[in-house]
C-alpha cells in the first residue's frame, strides 16, 4: 500500500518520529497506515518474510513422511499439521504485505535465495521418529520464539503470531506423543526415537540464532519491541523446558555437559557448533539445494493451476457482466 507523503519538512518528520517512539514506548501497536521509520519497516519485512518462508519450506521435511505414516491416525495428524504450516506461511505473507511488500516479490526472493528461511529445515528426515522429534523439539523451539512475538509492536505480525501459537501447540504435543509411542515400543523403535532426538537436539538449539554478543539485529529489534527477549534467554528457556520432558520420555539429550546449575537456577549446556550453523546458513547444509529445488518446482508446476483459476475468474466475471447488462436492457 503506498501513501502519498505530505511535503517533507524536518519539523513534521520529527513530530511523526516522536509519535512513533511514544506509541512503541506506551506498548501501543503500530498499524499498517501509521508512519514508521524506514528501517523499522525494512527490519519487519525481512523478519516476517524469513518467518513465512520457514513455514512454507518447513512443510517439506514432514511431507516426506505423509505417504509412509504407520497408521491412518498418524497420517491424518501429519496432513493436518503440514496444512497448518501452509496456513502459517500465508498469515505471515499477508502481514508482510501490509508493509508494502508484494507476494510475488517475496516468493521470488525465496526462490532466488535472496531471502532466507530457518536453517533447521535443511536437515533431512531420515526415519519416522524424526517426525516426532521435529514436533517436540523444532516446533517446541518455534513456540518458545513465537510466544513473545504475540506482543510484538507491529499489530499485523502480533495478530498473525497469536493465531500461529494457538495452532502450534497441537504440533508439539503430537510430536511428543509420537515419540512416547516409540519409547514404549520395541527396542528398535526406542533406538529410533533416541537417534532422532540425538540428531535434532543441537540444530534445534541453533534455531534461536547466534549468541547475544554476535547477533546483528538484536539490540535495535529489542528497542523497537519487535523482539522481547534475547536469543540466549530464549534458548535457555527452551533447554530448561526440554530436560524434564526428555526424562519423562526416558530419552537422553546428546550433551554430556548438560546439568542443573543450582546457583543460576537453570540448566547449563555444552558449546554449540556455530561453524555448522554458519555452513548450513550459507547453503552447505545437507538439504539446502533439495529444499529450494522442490519449492521452485512446486511453484512452476502449479503455474497452470494459477493460470486456469485466473482464466475461469475472467470468464466468469465477463459472463456476469453480460447478464447484468442483459437484465438492465
Amino acid at each position: 500500500m503506498t501513501t502519498t507523503l505530505p511535503e517533507r519538512d524536518a519539523a513534521h518528520d520529527d513530530a511523526r518520529a516522536a509519535a512513533f517512539d511514544a506509541a512503541v514506548a506506551a506498548e501501543e501497536r503500530i498499524e499498517p497506515r501509521d508512519w514508521m521509520p524506514d528501517a523499522y519497516r525494512a527490519t519487519l519485512v525481512r523478519q516476517i518474510a524469513q518467518h513465512a518462508h520457514s513455514e512454507i519450506i518447513g512443510m517439506q521435511p514432514e511431507a516426506n513422511w505423509i505417504s509412509r505414516a504407520p497408521s491412518l491416525r498418524r497420517k491424518a495428524i501429519l496432513l493436518a499439521k503440514v496444512q497448518d504450516e501452509a496456513g502459517h506461511g500465508l498469515y505471515l505473507y499477508s502481514a508482510a504485505e501490509t508493509l508494502g511488500a508484494s507476494r510475488d516479490e517475496l516468493l521470488d526472493k525465496l526462490h532466488t535465495g535472496r531471502q532466507k528461511y530457518s536453517s533447521i529445515f535443511n536437515y533431512p528426515t531420515l526415519t519416522w521418529a524424526d517426525v516426532g522429534a521435529i514436533g517436540w523439539l523444532v516446533d517446541g523451539a518455534a513456540i518458545t520464539n513465537q510466544v513473545p512475538l504475540c506482543r510484538c509492536s507491529y499489530g499485523p505480525y502480533a495478530r498473525a503470531m497469536v493465531r500461529v501459537c494457538k495452532e502450534e501447540s497441537f504440533h508439539q504435543r503430537q510430536g511428543y506423543e509420537l515419540l512416547l509411542a516409540l519409547t514404549r515400543g520395541t527396542p528398535a523403535q526406542r533406538a529410533m526415537a533416541q537417534d532422532a532426538v540425538d540428531r535434532w537436539w543441537w540444530p534445534s538449539l541453533m534455531m534461536f540464532g547466534p549468541p547475544d554478543d554476535e547477533s546483528a539485529h538484536s539490540a535495535q529489534s529489542m528497542a523497537w519491541k519487535i523482539k522481547r527477549h534475547s536469543n540466549d534467554e530464549l534458548r535457555q528457556r527452551f533447554v530448561d523446558i526440554c530436560v524434564p520432558q526428555a526424562e519423562s520420555l526416558g530419552l537422553t539429550l546428546p550433551d554430556p555437559e548438560l546439568r542443573w546449575n543450582a546457583e543460576r537456577g537453570h540448566y547449563d549446556h555444552g558449546p554449540i557448533d556455530w561453524a555448522e550453523f554458519k555452513q548450513v546458513l550459507q547453503g552447505n547444509g545437507p538439504c539446502n539445494e533439495q529444499r529450494i529445488g522442490q519449492r521452485r518446482r512446486a511453484h512452476e508446476e502449479g503455474a497452470w493451476v494459477r493460470a486456469a483459476a485466473s482464466a475461469y475468474a475472467d470468464k466468469h466475471t465477463a459472463h456476469q457482466g453480460a447478464e447484468r447488462n442483459g437484465a438492465a436492457a
Partner: protein, 97 residues
C-alpha cells in the same frame, strides 16, 4: 510464469464465530475471484471450526479514515463526557437508574 498470480486481488476476510456474534476481521488472502476467495478463506481461517459464516471483501473496496487525520477526525467525541452515564451525579441510594 508468475504473472497469473500478480493479477489476483487481495481480499479481506471476516468470520462470524458463532450465531449471535457479528463478523470480525480475521485476515486477508489473494484469490482470482470471490468464489475462490471464500473457499480459500474457509481453508485458511476456519480449519478448526472457528466460523459459521464468512465474508470476503476486495481490499480495494474498503475506505479507511487516514491515521494522519486521526486526531481531528475523532476529536469531536473526546470532549463530550456527558454522552456517558458516569457523567451524571445521582444521590446515594437511588435504585434502578
Amino acid at each position: 510464469m508468475s504473472e497469473s498470480r500478480t493479477d489476483w486481488p487481495l481480499w479481506e476476510v471476516f468470520v462470524r464465530g458463532r450465531r449471535g456474534l457479528s463478523h470480525t476481521h480475521a485476515g486477508s488472502l489473494h484469490a482470482p475471484d470471490a468464489t475462490m476467495a471464500l473457499r480459500n478463506a474457509r481453508d485458511l481461517y476456519t480449519r478448526r471450526g472457528e466460523g459459521v459464516s464468512l465474508w470476503v471483501v476486495p481490499s480495494t473496496q474498503i475506505t479507511a479514515s487516514s491515521p494522519d487525520e486521526k486526531d481531528p477526525f475523532f476529536e469531536p467525541a473526546a470532549d463530550k463526557p456527558y454522552r456517558h452515564p458516569t457523567f451524571y451525579e445521582v444521590p446515594e441510594g437511588v435504585q434502578n437508574l
